[in-house]
Symmetry: C2
């Protein structure tokens, strides 16, 4: 007995009915808002309600809560990877690096779930897949070569930096503590 696929995303990347495509967008939009506000404690029912869609529909598009979160996280990382590519175009790599960090942090500051995810689970997989790893490594390499960043900085330091920032944002939401944090941390990274 060949059961029909539970998921709306077909075996091969096929057409996807118009209403399904529309609903998928509604769900993602609602999820962005709900998860930003309530973090990982957000409930799928809330997302569904907000998207004006039944729970079943949410689960047809994203088979588990985890899958939904992954989609949101990936979206965000892709955006940040874009910042990284822009930063690479600057002649001064250190300036580019700082800009990247600040832009990314600013983007995440209002998103509770993303901060929680960042500060609690390893994201190296996505960071890799999205091309963010490559860009930041290159940025770090250049900044060191230009003598603006301390020479012992490694690729692992950047995720660590952001993970710390996420945690500070989470502990003091609605505060500027994280700006303070980044200032100190970047001072720690600068060549002396």
């Amino acid at each position: 007995m060949s059961t029909a696929p539970l998921s709306v995303v077909p075996v091969a990347g096929k057409p996807l009915r118009a209403d399904a495509r529309r609903n998928r967008e509604r769900i993602l939009k609602a999820a962005r808002a709900v998860f930003a506000d309530h973090g990982m404690h957000s409930q799928i029912d809330d997302v569904a309600r907000r998207a004006k869609v039944g729970v079943g529909t949410v689960y047809r598009h994203f088979p588990t809560k985890e899958a939904l979160v992954d989609a949101l996280v990936r979206e965000r990382f892709e955006e940040i990877a874009g910042y990284a590519r822009e930063a690479l175009e600057r002649a001064d790599a250190w300036e580019g690096f700082c800009e990247l960090i600040w832009r990314a942090a600013e983007r995440n500051a209002a998103d509770l779930a993303f901060c929680e995810t960042l500060a609690s689970t390893d994201q190296s997989r996505v960071v890799e897949e999205v091309g963010l790893a490559r860009s930041t490594n290159e940025l770090v390499r250049r900044a060191i070569a230009q003598g603006r960043m301390r020479a012992d900085v490694t690729e692992d330091d950047v995720p660590m930096l952001m993970c710390g920032a996420g945690s500070v944002m989470r502990t003091n939401p609605a505060s500027d503590a994280w700006r303070r944090y980044l200032t100190l941390m970047l001072d720690g990274l600068r060549a002396s």
Copy 2:
């Protein structure tokens, strides 16, 4: 109908039967181990099993899971407050400060639940009550006066620092990333 007290800790701080005192210690000991390993996801049943005690007994001593965690956290903060007092005895306040941070971090590195708590909920209350706030403030004040710490450091920076460390420890358990983190951060705090 005056119901008997649910809790074993009496209205006034009274005698507490011998077996009750013994069990309380067993519970705390078990809880330290379980929470260190499994973090906030730890289950009371596991604590009870490990303590060789019924669940009911755990709840008689600590009315909620939260209360148990609070007790553990407070214990740890009291210990750290001790480190802080020792650090204050050093003539070089900056050295004392670094020592405090390193000792505290070393102590927390193997304790998942403590890191999670640190990185997710505001602990300023306990930090205050335990006298840790007072000590670190004094330490910071002196280090700045002695010209070894950058002058714009405030009392809020220290919890932030530790909170970030907790989060790094949690994301990369069984790794030395947090040492790296502290090195950078302390460099950020040092007077240039």
